[in-house]
């Protein structure tokens, strides 16, 4: 998800019909430039070299959203539709890599493992494997600028990343569905970042990108990887 204003002009986008590095290429309606969805940068056309600013978003189920944001708005759709994604078979196939079936080999993680990717201005990109997040429920990146917590709701599958205030960088622990500073009374909901302790500010969401490992590493070959431990 990106902020869509550049120099006070709103840009609107659509799928261009092209794939670059196995990922969506967007076309803007204002200049006809082509933009990589993954890096948020115009790769061809008049806007080439311009970068869109990431906008934070979170993964959660409708049930979680309804509980957390009862006044929230949900995109309408024409009908209830089938339960599941059109691409479940593709997601489930460990050997299908991209639309043309890439044959690359991947040594750090299985190619089709889901990762949650974060980018920083002054630090290397970080990929956290779904296995690692399931194993730990909370992963704190204390050495990035800013420090970040990535959380998973193991029951519902919600995933979120938050920028951590100084008070929370050390000794942050997961207790049920909350994040707590271990030596104090400060706490937040683990998936929404909403404060559950008094006089505590809500955590600021940090943009996070869900990708298969093979796609992420093809864009960010210098990525750090936090993987499941045996």
């Amino acid at each position: 998800m990106y902020a869509a204003t550049i120099d006070d002009t709103r840009y609107t986008f659509q799928a261009s019909g092209s794939l670059w590095q196995d990922a969506l290429v967007m076309l803007d309606d204002q200049t006809g430039s082509l933009w990589s969805q993954v890096i948020g940068e115009a790769i061809a056309g008049p806007m080439e070299g311009t970068t869109l600013q990431l906008f934070p978003s979170q993964h959660m189920t409708f049930g979680e959203f309804a509980r957390a944001y009862p006044q929230g708005r949900v995109l309408t759709k024409p009908n209830r539709g089938p339960e599941g994604s059109t691409y479940d078979r593709y997601f489930a196939s460990p050997d299908r890599l991209g639309i043309f079936g890439r044959q690359d080999t991947f040594d750090r993680l299985p190619a089709k493992e889901t990762i949650y990717g974060l980018r920083f201005d002054n630090n290397r990109p970080v990929a956290i494997s779904e296995g690692a997040l399931r194993q730990r429920g909370l992963i704190v990146l204390a050495d990035t600028e800013p420090p970040v917590a990535v959380t998973l709701d193991t029951a519902q599958g919600g995933v979120a990343a938050f920028e951590l205030p100084p008070v929370a960088t050390q000794e942050l622990v997961r207790v049920g569905d909350t994040l707590r500073v271990s030596d104090g009374n400060v706490a937040w909901h683990a998936v929404t970042g909403i404060a559950v302790s008094a006089d505590t500010k809500r955590l600021s969401p940090r943009p996070i990108l869900t990708a298969f490992w093979f796609a992420w590493v093809s864009f960010f070959s210098d990525t750090r990887l936090i993987a499941e431990t045996p």
Partner: protein
């Protein structure tokens, strides 16, 4: 946002040539080299229709149309919260929208 190979292309692929492989049904996709990587063009702009300034439901209205476990991309800014079903986004790829007065593009 997902980079597991653009989902809409798989959707279009499924619609255009169910059960078969791409090369058997289509002309070879156009190839353009960008920054050392090939860009493959398989469809035309608009074949996967983006949504711009779409309509919304309240949470109680959405209860009729959404499964409790349906995965959403949620965006929260100030007092505003909006959510997009990723199952529904499979058919559109891009939503051009506003949250709390800020223009955003939701991509999946």
């Amino acid at each position: 946002m997902r980079t597991c190979v653009t989902s809409g292309f798989l959707l279009a692929f499924t619609i255009l040539c169910p059960g078969s492989d791409l090369s058997a049904q289509h002309d070879k996709p156009q190839e353009t080299m960008i920054r050392g990587h090939v860009m493959y063009t398989l469809l035309k702009p608009g074949d996967i229709p983006a949504l711009t300034d779409p309509d919304y439901l309240s949470v109680s209205e959405a209860d009729e149309l959404y499964y409790p476990g349906e995965p959403l991309l949620a965006v929260v800014d100030g007092d505003s919260a909006k959510a997009y079903s990723t199952w529904h986004l499979d058919h559109h790829e891009v939503v051009n929208d506003y949250i709390n007065g800020k223009a955003i593009t939701v991509t999946w």
